[in-house]
């Protein structure tokens, strides 16, 4: 029988939540790396026992942990993230040049076919790769050296590369997103990159339709259809049907189109989930009601999913890496909040229940479907 393992990164450690395929009863393990910020934990598609975790702290910097037994035991691997060549400058909040400085790893993305290959998205934004299980890291400097780098600027959370989407059918093609630079695509395994932000409109930047400078919060696709991308931007929910060459808005009837997460149902490529957040000034659900919104038409028409979610006095946030879907039928949907709850739905979002309620603030949620 199938099992699921939910990997949760929090402000004060990592947790693993496991259940059988019914997803009714859960075992909670953790905290692992207690007291450290765990920005992300993710398993390899090629070997589900191979997990990578980004562990960091304002005192001690960055550590990368690796597990080869599904999270039972962990060992630190390489933590040396050095920018290639002259680091150069990007824009600071006030528009002045600011040196590129490594701060932390936001996202670890194991490559689809090889458990020893893993990508890292870091702050200040850059793209790194390891081919030896995380022992050594090399920057692929073509992204930062694209030419627009000096115009990139941090969002409120820092200038982070937070989304990495390798095309499962084409190892040469990868999509990434940076706050606040925008989305980029490589067609040559990271050697060269192009911005893919045509159609985005951000009225908070000097040129609202600029090539770069957009605060993209998250991108998602269905693994069978990587040319169709869904984006939660700072404001606006967007869709591309041509691998990012152009975008159109699909916010439709959402109560607010500000938010962080977006994901796609594993069994229904046109079913998309977002969690609307009131505004960039008030990072909590509108009206104090925690609602996931689902579109079954690939956007524009959205329905509120509320069954099992708090519908009064709820003022949590759901951060950009804190939603995931499993690959069971019906699709399981999971998200974590800054209030420490991890909610799960085992029926594509029709009903929800908390797996845990009182963790530290949740930074990331990933899920593995295990045979």
């Amino acid at each position: 029988m199938s099992k699921v393992r939910v990997l949760v990164g929090t402000r004060k450690g990592a947790f693993t939540l496991t259940s059988d395929g019914k997803r009714e009863h859960w075992n909670v393990s953790g905290p692992h790396f207690a007291g450290w910020e765990i920005y992300h934990v993710k398993g390899s598609p090629a070997d589900p026992n191979r997990l990578y975790a980004s562990q960091s702290s304002g005192w001690f910097g960055q550590v990368i942990q690796r597990s080869d037994d599904g999270g039972e035991t962990w060992a630190p691997v390489g933590n040396k993230f050095i920018y290639e060549g002259i680091a150069g400058t990007h824009q600071w909040y006030d528009g002045t040049p600011h040196p590129w400085e490594f701060k932390r790893v936001w996202h670890l993305e194991p490559a689809p076919g090889d458990p020893d290959s893993v990508y890292a998205g870091v702050e200040d934004a850059a793209f790194f790769k390891s081919t030896d299980g995380g022992q050594n890291w090399q920057e692929l400097p073509g992204l930062r050296g694209h030419g627009s780098g000096p115009r990139w600027q941090p969002g409120a959370g820092g200038m982070c590369l937070h989304t990495i989407l390798p095309d499962p059918g084409n190892p040469e093609r990868i999509f990434i997103a940076i706050s606040a630079a925008g989305a980029f695509r490589t067609n040559d395994a990271g050697q060269t990159w192009q911005p893919i932000n045509k159609g985005l409109f951000s009225e908070y930047i000097p040129e609202p339709r600029a090539e770069v400078g957009h605060c993209v919060h998250r991108i998602a696709f269905h693994k069978s259809r990587p040319d169709v991308l869904f984006m939660q931007k700072h404001w606006d929910v967007m869709r591309s049907d041509d691998a990012g060459d152009s975008w159109r808005e699909i916010s439709g009837n959402l109560p607010t189109d500000f938010g962080f997460v977006i994901d796609v149902n594993t069994n229904e490529p046109e079913t998309v989930y977002v969690v609307p957040i009131k505004s960039d000034r008030e990072h909590y659900p509108p009206e104090g009601k925690l609602r996931v919104y689902r579109s079954r038409e690939g956007g524009d028409e959205w329905e509120a999913l509320t069954n099992g979610l708090p519908q009064s006095n709820c003022y949590v946030n759901v951060l950009r890496d804190a939603m995931a879907v499993d690959s069971l039928d019906k699709c399981g949907v999971y998200f974590g909040t800054t209030g420490g709850q991890v909610y799960a739905s085992s029926n594509g979002g029709d009903t929800w229940a908390p797996i845990v309620r009182d963790l530290p603030a949740v930074l990331s949620v990933e899920v593995q479907t295990l045979e």
Partner: protein, 98 residues
């Protein structure tokens, strides 16, 4: 034998209980002590000193013999009491944050 006392998070990371005792060849300085520490516990590289600059991380301090040595040269000799093992070399995390 040089005695080094680390913050709890770094002891956990390196799976150390209590103090570390190190043999240091040559002059005993902050740099030579930390080099010896990182040689024995490579997972501590980058957690006390920056990988690139080698500078002390901002929220850590170095103490010994009731003195703050954080702003001393990394190549300055450590006090005799540290060299003799009578006193430990302390790596201390700032009391800050939540």
């Amino acid at each position: 034998m040089i005695r080094v006392y680390l913050p709890g998070h770094l002891r956990t990371l390196a799976q150390i209980s209590g103090e570390v005792e190190l043999e240091v060849n040559g002059q005993v300085t902050q740099r030579s002590v930390l080099d010896a520490l990182e040689l024995r516990y490579p997972m501590l590289k980058g957690t006390i000193r920056d990988h690139v600059t080698g500078q002390r991380r901002a929220f850590l301090r170095f103490f010994a013999c009731q003195e703050d040595l954080s702003h001393e040269s990394p190549d300055a000799p450590l006090p005799d009491a540290v060299v003799s093992g009578a006193e430990p070399f302390l790596v201390v995390g700032a009391i800050a944050g939540g």
